[in-house]
Subunit: 252 residues, 2 copies
């Protein structure tokens, strides 16, 4: 049986303000929980459904907890499911230390910067791709959804636990010394490192309908994914992912 105080904490952590106050976020489902357990972040405890814990992937979660010395509470599957935010949840929930995004220098390394990305699935998918292509971090710019939102965590497939989340650049001297890139149909197709692409860069992506704010657009070099005639644009997570792929691949 899950204690009332723990159930209350899980419910509180669905609210951004509470996540920020507690410095905690939730991971749901065995795959995402396993990524949290593999990541550098501290996992406070795991709630596991008793029946699910007997399945192959359920046992992998318990093994990973015991290796990392993480407390596991086993409860009836339906109790754990009842606390989950996702639609058809598998009954495993982890409580993870969720450091707030902090400013970091962006002049060395390769970063994705999301400014005004509002759909959780888009931000999560972008974080998953940034992790998949070995970027150094993700900058959470103004107007972007909270990276610790449960839909973002889920869509990131746990990538959010592996990459440093950085807060938006200092507004006074925003991106001095940074190779700022942005997606724009008028830009050139990036050719990969050593083919006109600098080693270090920040790829800025904007709002799903409004795009990037003008002050960033003015500073950025435009790069493009070529498309068929008559087609306006790709989904922001798709365009961003293709560009991350092109910018990070080796020469062919």
């Amino acid at each position: 049986m899950i204690s009332k105080s723990r159930a209350r904490l899980v419910r509180r952590l669905t609210v951004r303000r509470m996540r920020e106050r507690e410095g905690l976020a939730l991971a749901e489902g065995p795959r995402v929980v396993l990524e949290a357990l593999k990541s550098p972040l501290q996992v406070r405890w795991v709630l596991a459904g008793a029946e699910h814990a007997g399945s192959g992937i359920g046992r992998r979660v318990l093994d990973a907890c015991s290796q990392r010395g993480v407390e596991v509470q086993v409860a009836p599957d339906r109790e754990v499911r009842g606390l989950a935010s996702t639609e058809r949840p598998q009954p495993v929930i982890a409580c993870v230390a969720a450091p707030p995004p902090v400013p970091r220098p962006l002049d060395r390394g390769r970063y994705l910067m999301a400014t005004g990305v509002q759909i959780p699935g888009n931000l999560g998918t972008l974080i998953r791709s940034a992790w998949g292509f070995g970027l150094d971090g993700v900058v959470i710019g103004a107007g972007t959804v909270d990276p610790w939102n449960h839909k973002v965590v889920r869509a990131s497939a746990g990538g959010v636990f592996h990459l440093p989340m950085t807060s938006g650049p200092d507004p006074v001297d925003p991106l001095e010394g940074v190779n700022l890139l942005c997606a724009d149909a008028a830009g050139a197709v990036p050719g990969g490192p050593g083919r006109g692409v600098p080693r270090d860069w920040v790829l800025a992506l904007g709002n799903e309908t409004g795009g990037l704010p003008a002050r960033l657009l003015r500073r950025a070099r435009a790069i493009a994914v070529p498309m068929a005639a008559g087609v306006d644009s790709l989904n922001v997570a798709v365009a961003g992912s293709i560009l991350m792929y092109l910018l990070t691949r080796g020469g062919e």
Copy 2:
């Protein structure tokens, strides 16, 4: 004021069975409605919010309707919004003839085949990318969400109106003469037309967690998007879109 029978029809069309019975689907929001009006499909009528119709994009919708001879009914914004399925709707809804996917030969042309893609946003995003990269159609295989589902239509940005939707291949002689490709980490990175990629192909994508059924995997040539060590996979819509990009781009 929207007639009761029309309001009832809009509500019925949120249900797959009803869409199939009527051969109709809904487009919501001015951008998606504009794509329906530009597409080869018949648009039966458009409901437009009176206030919204005075905005720049609202006027573009009315102009496109008058050019195509489509009946427009103007009603208070809140009445049109009240009929919309999307979360923060703009008050424009179109009723569009939605032909059911039918079998087509797949041995000539370039097709995306979605088998077991269950998340509407993923299928819609894939259709948007297939449209963006000039594919010839999308095959809706077994277990895939209805392409006329409102979330698919929305995520496709209207691409679903521009590309032929094809039903799954004949189960007896499924894909004879077809260059069937699938995403798999063990495959080679596709180099684009003339670089080991045939002119005609079908790119098969499977379920978000389970992947492709074995009978298709056995038949398919594996192609891959290279990723960082320790990362399992990308989002299916991202992986599919990157592969469509690589398969359709010209030599560099």
